[in-house]
Amino acid sequence: MRFMLLFSRQGKLRLQKWYVPLGDQEKRRLGRELVQTILGRKAKMCSFLEWRDLKVVYKRYASLYFCCAIEEQDNELITLEVIHRYVELLDKYFGSVCELDIIFNFEKAYFILDEFLLGGEAQETSKKSVLKAIEQADQLQEVRAVSIEDLSLTAVVLS
């Protein structure tokens, strides 16, 4: 995998993970371009597209788009499930995850991703193992969770 982007329907980037060395300018340009391309596509269209010399796999969960750029020889369907597993991990960790969780706890979203994927490849696909690693690391000080405009990402898909 070359990179992964999470962005909102308004085109705001919520998470970006680059597995190839690129300059900040280039990252911003690619990100902008790809976000526009995907937002321009209609619902129900194919989840895969050819974009530049890459294959792009994306899926929308509630208000967030999850999008991966993969190599020619990579498997599109399994990438779709990489996205889903990541959503499940976020969901389990935050408890019914919504976009706001990822905005306010962006660092956690990165940590969870690093446990699941490293260098663009699956490191640990077991949900239990990933969450165990994260929980272990957290010194759990649950503050309080007041949920506003709780658009559950997974409510639609996971139920």
């Binding site: 989840s47 020889q73 369907l77 490293l118 663009g120 077991s126 272990q136």
Partner: protein, 944 residues
């Protein structure tokens, strides 16, 4: 205030994020950020030492600001300080900041590396993982230099925790991808392969990505992984859906690992061990069988995971391309998917079938789905799916269905998305040419193309139709009639005017008998378009007019009138003006005979690769491996052959000397490649449409295109097509030679089963000895492999050894045969001698069979320096002041063979004014052996 927070939340951070979200405008956001940056800067600079928590909070804020898209130029040092904190969360934020905002400050890098080193040796697995994640995220060369030695040790150490092993494997993979030279193979590599047997599925999943990448680069060193991968796969495939506990995903056992195992196997040819192969075939059959079973869950995750494995298995089957049974089953399975209600599956099935279409075993099976695919092209709502359908139609096209497919693609073009029209046009043009049995169909198709999508018809396409019409006299009349009719349309595309102008200028006479298309009618029709056209088209039309004057003397007065008008003869465009002036003058002063000679019908174009195919390849853009030393040879080769290239426009212009032709290099690639990746099964290349033998082109015809270019030189590019480039470097001493061949994979896909063999036609076996070692069977995408040939000349020879290259690209077997440029002159030893000696020996060798002589027309200019360079390249000594005529060249040398030495004298006499405009040479060779004289004379006659 929203406080959606978990773990040890940072209140200040949440407040800040919330503020940013409440900003009503971009300006307000920037203002708030600048305020925060000032605040953080003052905290970092302040006298009071910050505690760990504050430092963490501010670093995290900086990170957030950066991720919003703003530049951050401070805070790195504070982040580095966090790395040495004992508190995990502080360390973690420090590492995250470093991973995202990589800095090239060397002092900083030293500090970071130190912190990483400490954590790696801490024996605390969570710290070790953090450090490894950071290395993997940054992946810089500096990090590789610091840690590429340490990580393999961590990876294979017996006491390393599983989670650390997983991180270490992928960390090493990232470093290897970035700096392969720094990751040294060693004792650890064999132990890494055995991680495929690890009990922990997570370890296997991580390690296999590393193993796959290493295998691609070092297939031999890792080939034991094949049997391990097969047995692992077999265990997973045959396990019940609950056996693998948390590694089962929606009732599918270990889908990620299964896909990766199947991917790894694609780095190798089918297993040689019968038992292993049997087990693998069983796995593939089980996977295909499972596709037919009812789903264990209605969830899309279940079917996606299951089908991910299925598609990967099909890729492996296509990669092997050796099991007809599996190939046909794969094809049937994909056929089912073509009609699936899931768009994603239809897309993937179309894509996968494209590669299947190129296998001889499954080409026919793919063809049975033609109606479904055509339907997809017409009805799919998603352009990316339609694109796949168009690609598949192109791939499955052969002589039997070409008319149907071309017709469908043409009708699709009318509504096709703009983004893909140009490629569609090229594809239609290629198919029409490749499978044209009757050329009137071809002409119709191309004219339709221009009508439907004129703007997307590139120069190459209309040049090509003209080349073909000129080369095939059976279609000329039809072409003239058809363009004449097409031009009747009130609005026709400029490209149509170009083709019309050219064809009527050449062949208008073939339809002039019909009063409805009499010469004047033709002329008026063309001229009615003139004012709407651009300058290059007008220039072409002017050339057509002068051709008309020759074809139809009765139009002379009318056309001269046009040429004489101010709008032509005083045109502000210098090219148009010049043509008008010259053509007017030419038509006024030249006699009918001279006019007929100057404006004679165009001779046939040389047979060569279709420029359209070259264009399509260029569009697809396979990266050419730059090899600096080969570049020179390529350029030189291009020049030597450049003289023969001409495009319709420049060649047609009677005043071509002064024409800055817009079409200088329209014929594109010069080498005619005998392989076609697009449809190898069809066997016939585009060039074959010209060959008299017709269908069933020579799949392995000997390509001696490059051969003659190497008579007088030793280095350069011997062969190049869209997949492969072969460079050559050679050196000779006495009767021995060494040749280095460089095989460059121009694609991004690996070549499998790559092999080369040298063969000796005729008597060559006893005359020449070539020894070589086999090359590695896998050539990675973008990689270059080298092969050394040791050559011994036993006695003189006339034939050239042949090099046969075979490999698999995608599923298709490629087969290329070349003549190796080993010629008798390579074994020349130069001999200096004075004039008296030369003529004395010359006289001694006066028996008729000792002499070989040829008189021939010059193919290239008679530039003295170029000639000298060639003669020196020949290997002989170029003797100055020997021949009484200073224009002549004489050379002497001794051919060294194992059995004997053969003295050779050479004389080349240029005659620059043999006839007006014709330059001739007389070449004479004398040697003590008739076969040597003859062979050298034949070889050299092609060089000047």
């Amino acid at each position: 205030m929203p406080a959606v927070s978990k773990g040890d939340g940072m209140r200040g951070l949440a407040v800040f994020i919330s503020d940013i979200r409440n900003c009503k405008s971009k300006e307000a956001e920037i203002k708030r950020i600048n305020k925060e940056l000032a605040n953080i800067r003052s905290k970092f600079k302040g006298d009071k030492a910050l505690d760990g928590y504050s430092k963490k909070k501010y670093v995290c804020k900086l990170l957030f600001i950066f991720l919003l898209g703003h530049d951050i130029d401070f805070g790195h040092m504070e982040a580095v300080n966090l790395l040495s904190s004992n508190k995990y969360t502080e360390k973690q934020i420090g590492y995250l900041f470093i991973s995202v905002l990589v800095n090239s400050n060397s002092e900083l890098i030293r500090l970071i590396n130190n912190a990483i080193k400490n954590d790696l040796s801490s024996r605390n697995p969570t710290f070790m993982c953090l450090a490894l994640h950071c290395i993997a995220n940054v992946g810089s060369r500096e990090m590789a230099e610091a840690f590429a030695g340490e990580i393999p040790r961590i990876l294979v150490a017996g006491d390393t925790m599983d989670s650390v092993k997983q991180s270490a494997a992928l960390c090493l993979l990232r470093l290897y991808k970035a700096s392969p030279d720094l990751v040294l193979m060693g004792e650890w590599t064999s132990r890494v392969v055995h991680l495929l047997n690890d009990q922990h599925m997570g370890v296997v999943t991580a390690a296999i990505s590393l193993i796959t990448c290493l295998s691609q680069k070092n297939p031999d060193e890792f080939k034991t992984c094949v049997s391990l991968a097969v047995s692992r796969l077999s265990r997973i495939v045959s396990s019940a859906s609950t056996d693998l506990q948390d590694y089962t995903y929606y009732f599918v056992p270990a889908p990620w690992l299964s896909c990766k195992l199947l991917r790894l196997l694609q780095c190798y040819p089918p297993p040689e061990d019968g038992a292993v192969k049997g087990r693998l075939v069983e796995c593939l059959e089980t996977i295909l069988n499972k596709a037919q079973e009812p789903p264990k869950s209605k969830k899309v995750q279940h079917s996606n995971a299951k089908n991910a494995i299925l598609f990967e298995a099909i890729s492996l089957i296509i990669h092997y391309d050796s099991e007809p049974n599996l190939l046909v089953r794969a094809c049937n399975q994909l056929g089912q998917f073509l009609q699936h209600r899931e768009t994603n599956l239809r897309y993937l099935a179309l894509e996968s079938m494209c590669t299947l279409a190129s296998s001889e075993f499954s080409h026919e099976a793919v063809k049975t789905h033609i109606e479904t695919v055509i339907n997809a092209l017409k009805t799919e709502r998603d352009v990316s799916v339609r694109q796949r359908a168009a690609d598949l139609l192109y791939a499955m096209c052969d002589r039997s269905n070409a008319k149907q497919i071309v017709a469908e693609m043409l009708s699709y073009l009318e509504t096709a998305d703009y983004s893909i029209r140009e490629e569609m046009v090229l594809k239609v043009a290629i198919l029409a040419e490749k499978y044209a049995v009757d050329y009137s169909w071809y002409v119709d198709t191309i004219l339709n193309l221009i009508r439907i999508a004129g703007d997307y018809v590139s120069e190459e396409v209309w040049y090509r139709v003209i080349q073909i019409v000129i080369n095939r006299d059976d279609v000329q009349g039809y072409a003239a009639k058809t363009v004449f009719e097409a031009l009747q349309a009130p609005a026709c595309h400029e490209n149509m005017v170009k083709v019309g102008g050219y064809i009527l200028g050449e062949f208008g006479n073939l339809i002039a008998g019909d009063p409805r298309s009499s010469p004047l009618v033709q002329f008026n029709l063309l001229h009615s378009k003139f004012h709407l056209c651009s300058v290059p088209t007008r220039a072409l039309l002017l050339s057509a007019y002068i051709k008309f004057i020759n074809l139809f003397p009765e139009t002379k007065a009318t056309i001269q009138e046009v040429l004489r008008s101010d709008s032509q003869i005083r045109n502000s465009d210098v090219e148009l003006q010049q043509r008008a002036v010259e053509y007017l003058k030419l038509s006024s002063i030249a006699s009918t005979d001279v006019l007929a000679t100057v404006l004679e019908e165009m001779p046939p174009f040389p047979e060569r690769e279709s420029s359209i195919l070259a264009k399509l390849k260029k569009k697809k853009g396979p990266g050419v491996v730059p090899v600096s030393e080969l570049e020179d040879g390529k350029r030189e080769g291009g020049e030597l052959n450049g003289g023969g290239d001409r495009g319709p426009d420049s060649a047609m212009s009677a005043s071509n000397a002064s024409t800055p032709s817009p079409s200088a290099d329209l014929l594109g690639l010069r080498s005619a490649a005998p392989v076609s990746a697009a449809a190898p099964s069809a066997g016939s290349l585009l060039v074959d449409v010209f060959s008299e033998s017709g269908a069933g082109g020579p799949a392995a015809a000997v390509n001696d295109d490059g051969f003659l270019r190497f008579v007088c030189k030793n280095n350069g590019v011997l062969f190049e097509n869209q997949l492969l480039q072969i460079g050559i470097k050679s050196e000779y001493r006495q009767n021995l030679g060494r040749m280095y061949l460089f095989y460059g994979n121009k694609t991004s896909v690996q070549f499998a089963s790559f092999s080369t063999t040298v063969s000796y036609p005729g008597e060559l076996q006893s005359q020449l000895n070539v020894q070589t070692k086999p090359v590695e069977p896998l050539v990675e995408g973008g990689a270059q492999v080298q092969q050394v040939l040791n050559i011994e000349c036993i006695t003189d020879f006339s034939e050239a050894p042949q090099l046969n290259i075979k490999f698999r690209y995608g599923g298709a077997l490629q087969n290329i045969t070349l003549k190796l440029p080993v010629t008798i002159n390579k074994f020349f030893q130069p001999t200096e001698m004075a004039a008296t000696d030369f003529f004395q020996r010359w006289k001694q060798l006066s028996q008729p069979q000792q002499e070989a002589q040829k008189i021939f027309k010059a193919n290239h200019g008679m530039d003295t320096e170029v000639l000298k360079a060639k003669l020196l390249g020949l290997g002989t000594a170029l003797l100055e002041n020997v021949d009484p005529n200073p224009e002549n060249y004489v050379c002497a040398g001794v051919v060294q063979t194992k059995s004997q030495q053969v003295g050779v004298l050479l004389r080349l006499e240029p005659n620059a004014q043999a006839q007006p405009g014709v330059q001739m040479y007389r070449l004479t060779l004398r040697s003590s052996k008739d076969t040597v004289s003859k062979r050298l004379c034949d070889l050299l006659a092609e060089q000047f």
